[in-house]
């Protein structure tokens, strides 16, 4: 209903603006740290992914997928196969300010079991050019009011922060960014705390699409 109510405003904002599709490849290095009973279990490794997106003026949407294996680094003998799908929609009311919402489904599979995570987030993104207009930096922060993980009886909330730099070269965009997520679970003395971060190189190709007048 909120979307339906906002649609006329968004449609007016889009009037006459070009539409652009993009496809991207992403390579990243991920770490997952879980603090359980004062012991930090750490796994990490490379993961690879891809993304498709569409930008219509101030409105954007993307779907990103990752896949990789996180090897044990500390206090755990289990390697995990990891996969993630994330859908994101964003709106830029100002050239330097964006608001966005995201839905993330993440899964870890290991010989010790299977974990399924569901995250819902909403946040803001600040961006701007540096030196050359083709180069932008950004900072983003999201609050994750819904964090559901199959490892816990109840999720509490989470927080996500991102920073990065991107360069546009004709139809190509190359970006380097860092993502950090923190999840706090209720549970008193046995409370679980997890952090997940990754940094990656993102190469995207943009395909403009012009609507007929």
């Amino acid at each position: 209903m909120l979307g339906a109510g906002l649609w006329p405003v968004v449609a007016r904002a889009q009037d006459g603006r070009p539409i652009e599709f993009s496809v991207a490849a992403i390579a990243g290095s991920a770490r997952s740290r879980a603090l359980v009973a004062d012991t930090a279990e750490v796994v990490g490794g490379w993961w690879l992914g891809g993304a498709v997106g569409v930008t219509a003026g101030r409105l954007s949407a993307s779907l990103t997928g990752f896949r990789g294996t996180l090897a044990p680094i500390a206090h755990t003998p289990f390697a995990r196969d990891a996969g993630q799908i994330e859908a994101r929609v964003g709106f830029e009311p100002l050239p330097w300010l964006g608001v966005e919402a995201s839905y993330t489904a993440r899964a870890f599979s290991s010989s010790s079991g299977f974990q399924h995570w569901t995250l819902l987030g909403a946040g803001v993104r600040l961006s701007g050019p540096v030196g050359d207009s083709a180069v932008h930096v950004y900072l983003a922060a999201s609050y994750l009011p819904l964090v559901r993980a199959s490892v816990q009886a109840s999720g509490e909330h989470g927080f996500r922060a991102e920073a990065g730099v991107s360069a546009n070269l004709a139809r190509w965009t190359i970006a380097l960014n860092y993502h950090f997520e923190r999840y706090d679970f209720a549970g008193g003395a046995s409370a679980r705390l997890e952090e997940f971060d990754w940094f990656g190189l993102h190469v995207a190709y943009h395909i403009p699409w012009r609507r007929k007048a």
Partner: protein, 352 residues
């Protein structure tokens, strides 16, 4: 006749043949006509009449109708000037038969001659057709425009008839013509299918109160063809496009922004991570990205220049490009439609 007299006659005829050059040897019909006109201008009508009589008598059947018409007209006017009015009328009639389209120019002929020509034309039954020399038509719906002239109001029938039975005749057009008309001759048969490629005759049948006459001297070659496609328009030259951005002076704020974001990236784990999970590994990754952001900002500050986009110019360029693309799409669509349309080429191979 004695042998001696016969020899004398033969020698005499031979000598005459050698002394008087044949008409063909004197030049082409056009050259002879020009000589006759010169003689008329030099007030030598008797010699001109003699030459023109020779000319119209020896004109080959394949001679252009315009030459025949002009020769008859000149002969008529020369006869008229010599007071041979009946002879002039006959030649005016022959001129009308040679070219039913002809109407004397009042500036070139005296009024009495004009009236005499018109009266002579009305007295004969003559029809003329002028088809276009080379025509491209839609084989399914095309009609071949043929100009028709008649000397008297009457009924004209036109049709394309194949030279052999393998080629069926096209539909017949029947119409009443007062003087001149343009007739659209269909190029499809009675079954509405396009006529088969081949050679056809344009058969003209003309019925007037004064009699009937038919003509089938026009032959045409009908062949399927692919129409020429339209050439694509070259894209607008670069000189027509406007500058889309302007280089701005370097901004210290941009440098501060990049360093700030770099520091922010490096500080994320410190600010939001839990102290118990903090390791150098985690911090180094954030630090790497933070340094990369700051160094990129510094490098672009030194080597790059901010650009200020000029939206009006961008819109103008986009409109220019869109208009060209629209025209290009239109040309492509036209060419596709042309390629999909069966066409016939009708070429006149023998004129009346």
């Amino acid at each position: 006749m004695t042998i001696g007299r016969l020899v004398t006659v033969v020698i005499g005829l031979g000598a005459a043949g050698g002394i008087v050059p044949s008409l063909r040897a004197q030049g082409t019909p056009e050259q002879l006509l020009a000589q006759a006109i010169t003689m008329l201008g030099a007030t030598e009508p008797e010699r001109a009449v003699e030459l023109l009589r020779q000319l119209v008598g020896d004109l080959p059947a394949t001679a252009a109708s315009s030459v025949r018409r002009d020769a008859q007209l000149r002969l008529a006017t020369a006869s008229w000037s010599l007071g041979l009015l009946d002879s002039a009328t006959v030649h005016f009639q022959d001129a009308a038969r040679a070219d039913a389209f002809f109407q004397p120019d009042p500036d070139a002929f005296n009024p009495e001659e004009v009236m005499a020509f018109r009266a002579a034309r009305r007295a004969v039954v003559a029809v003329g057709v002028r088809p276009p020399g080379d025509t491209l038509l839609d084989a399914r719906t095309g009609r071949w425009p043929v100009a028709v002239a008649v000397s008297q109001p009457g009924q004209v029938q036109l049709r394309l008839a194949g030279l052999d039975t393998a080629h069926l005749a096209a539909r017949t057009v029947i119409l009443v013509v007062d003087s001149t008309a343009t007739v659209s001759v269909p190029v499809m048969g009675a079954d509405s299918a396009p006529i088969a490629p081949g050679t056809y005759r344009l058969v003209v049948a003309y019925s007037a109160p004064g009699g009937t006459v038919s003509d089938s001297t026009v032959s045409v070659d009908v062949a399927p063809t692919t129409p020429d496609s339209l050439a694509h328009e070259a894209p607008p030259p670069d000189s027509l496009f406007r500058l889309e951005f302007r280089l701005e002076p370097r901004s210290g704020n941009a440098l501060l922004r990049s360093i700030g974001v770099g520091v922010g990236a490096a500080a994320i784990p410190l600010l939001f991570g839990d102290r118990r999970l903090r390791t150098w590994d985690t911090q180094s990754r954030a630090l790497f990205v933070g340094v990369a952001v700051s160094v990129t900002g510094l490098a672009t500050y030194i080597f790059g220049r901010p650009r200020r986009l000029l939206p009006d110019n961008i819109d103008y360029n986009r409109a220019l490009r869109s208009a060209w693309e629209e025209r290009d799409r239109s040309i492509a669509a036209t060419n596709a439609a042309r390629r999909a349309t069966p066409m016939l080429r009708i070429r006149v191979v023998q004129k009346p």
